[in-house]
Symmetry: C2
Subunit: 336 residues, 2 copies
DNA sequence: TTGTATGCGTTATCAG
DNA sequence: CTGATAACGCATACAA
């Protein structure tokens, strides 16, 4: 690590003052074109790199965004982080990550840490467990700290969020199967108090109502989580005798777990039983059993989220409610 | 964003000097216990939070580590990032991420960006494409910038890396199948010039040699990448007539793609053809076809990597070569 | 054990 | 258009 060259060195080298060099480097309007070029060359020649710490100390900005997702093992969140990073890096922001493992306490700790690290803003997939204390989030909101939510929101703080229209997506897919004549359908969701489940459930109910069919709540299954394994276990541990025509999972990887367990029980898919997921993760079309699902356009979601956050950072007037992104039903072999 | 309280405020509040407060907060030995407690209380009361930028400017440390992986869509790398983050957060480091998409240029850009952001060190899964320029890495090495490699290394710069013993893992699994009498085995790898492929290939050859069987190089297939889709396509596009007893993929998700494509062609697994992967990703045991694979103990790998990097940061004497982590063959249904 | 003073590298303000 | 200088908030070497 050789001693780094500072703006002062560039000043000395060019015979200009520190201030001028700084402005020149930042492309200020009030510096002559000629000077700017001269400074740029000199800086280049000396191998000058801005010291980010000094810069941040002065500007109070780090150009780093913190991002918290529940569980990186879920490919959906992997893709999410990937897209967020891509969007951010293009705008010269860095992305620092944390994983909450569906635990509000971990999430809270991560948020504090991020803020203590001086991130300019936070993107969070809320852990919307109603049992837990949410005052931290409320405080952030009231202090108008730049935090935006993606893919879910806190029930009591439904602001600055970008998410798929889960209710409509679920409505569409449920309705389409009702129309085909299937009535005995099971829904494997996570905790029903959570937004991602409850919104979907609303869609389901709406579809039944629209079809004039009564919805039997016993067809809802609350799994122990929303992971591959949770889906797998739900099927393995099911002791009832009802064999639904279609099983809807809350997301794709859970659907994969469900399919796997069904196969282990000797069921054929889609002949004996149909399965549908939600998300349309990148290889959903190429699974052993290509997966029927509802596409979330995750890339679009991420782009909107980043835009929303950066607009907030730049003090622009932004939409502050819940922006819902349209979904698309995709029928594949798992539920032909 | 209310005006933040600084160390100066705490000093004023306690009647102590700025220097004393700083030391007290940092737990310096030469400050009285009593004073430390007093300062801590006062700081707490005032809601004081250290300004990370000032701190960094002074210490020249950010407590942020940059991490570059090829492709977050691959669950294996997802798990890797997860473990790295966990290890780092426990030691009060932040993890900033970048995705290189197997592209050396992107990787180089990310590394520069990270350094310009003032990361204390970098963890990288090398994009070991020999076609590309690697001088940046060499320079970093020569300047002894704290960069460590995980899961692969640059052929010409085989230092500070932690990876699974790919050669031995491949040797073990190949040998075990040779022992069972299978001889017609196909190996679907990525670019053979790359470490991850070439090391595995050495293991294969060694196993054949040990068994006294001649190895036919035409059984090696270079896929277009190492993704699910690459595996899938390799099978779909295969026009040859040779039907191997066993197909070995370079990693689990590729094996999954291969299985999927084989199934689409009407093959039964493992009856008609066996498939093995590499990595043992977290749900490999619960796939529709539970996957035979070689476990990489990714958690251990990540822990070792973080330890190695942090030791370097603390100036401790560290092992500087290639640390190989032992692998374990796991036989499951896909290759019974 | 505590206080003082200086430096860290930029940005920004205010003169010139 | 450019120069000088004061922040920014903390750590640390040196005094006391």
């Amino acid at each position: 690590m050789k001693k780094s060259v500072t703006i002062k060195d560039v000043a000395a080298y060019t015979g200009l003052s520190v201030g001028t060099v700084s402005m020149a480097l930042n492309g200020s309007e009030r510096i002559a074109q000629k000077t700017k070029k001269y400074v740029a060359m000199a800086a280049d020649e000396l191998g000058f790199r801005k010291n980010p710490f000094a810069r941040s100390l002065s500007t109070k900005k780090s150009r780093i965004i913190g991002c918290i997702v529940p569980d990186i093992t879920n490919q959906f969140y992997g893709e999410m982080v990937g897209h967020l990073q891509k969007e951010l890096v293009e705008r010269d922001y860095g992305l620092i990550v944390g994983f909450a493992n569906e635990d509000r306490n971990q999430e809270a700790r991560l948020i504090s840490q991020f803020i203590d690290r001086g991130v300019d803003g936070i993107i969070s997939v809320p852990v919307t467990d109603t049992k837990h204390d949410i005052s931290q989030i409320r405080t952030l909101y009231e202090d108008s700290f730049p935090i935006v939510f993606i893919s879910a929101y806190y029930k009591d703080i439904p602001y600055y969020t970008v998410m798929a229209d889960l209710e409509d997506g679920m409505y569409q897919i449920t309705a389409s199967f009702l129309k085909k004549g299937y009535k005995n359908m099971a829904f494997v969701f996570g905790d029903l108090n959570l937004i991602p489940s409850s919104e979907r459930l609303n869609g389901v109910k709406r579809a039944y109502a629209a079809a004039g069919i009564e919805f039997d709540p016993s067809n809802i299954f609350q799994a122990s989580g929303v992971t591959y394994l949770a889906g797998y276990s739900t099927v393995v541990n099911y002791t009832g005798h009802n064999k639904p025509d279609v099983i809807f999972a809350i997301n794709d990887i859970m659907a994969m777990g469900i399919i796997s367990a069904l196969r282990a029980k000797g069921m054929r898919i889609p002949e004996d039983i149909k399965v549908a997921g939600f998300d349309d993760i990148s290889n959903a079309a190429f699974l052993e059993t290509p997966l029927t699902t509802v596409s979330q356009s995750i890339e679009l979601m991420c782009r909107e989220t980043v835009t929303l956050l950066l607009n907030r950072l730049e003090g622009k007037n932004t939409f502050s409610g819940i922006k819902k992104i349209q979904t698309t039903v995709i029928i594949r072999e798992s539920a032909y």
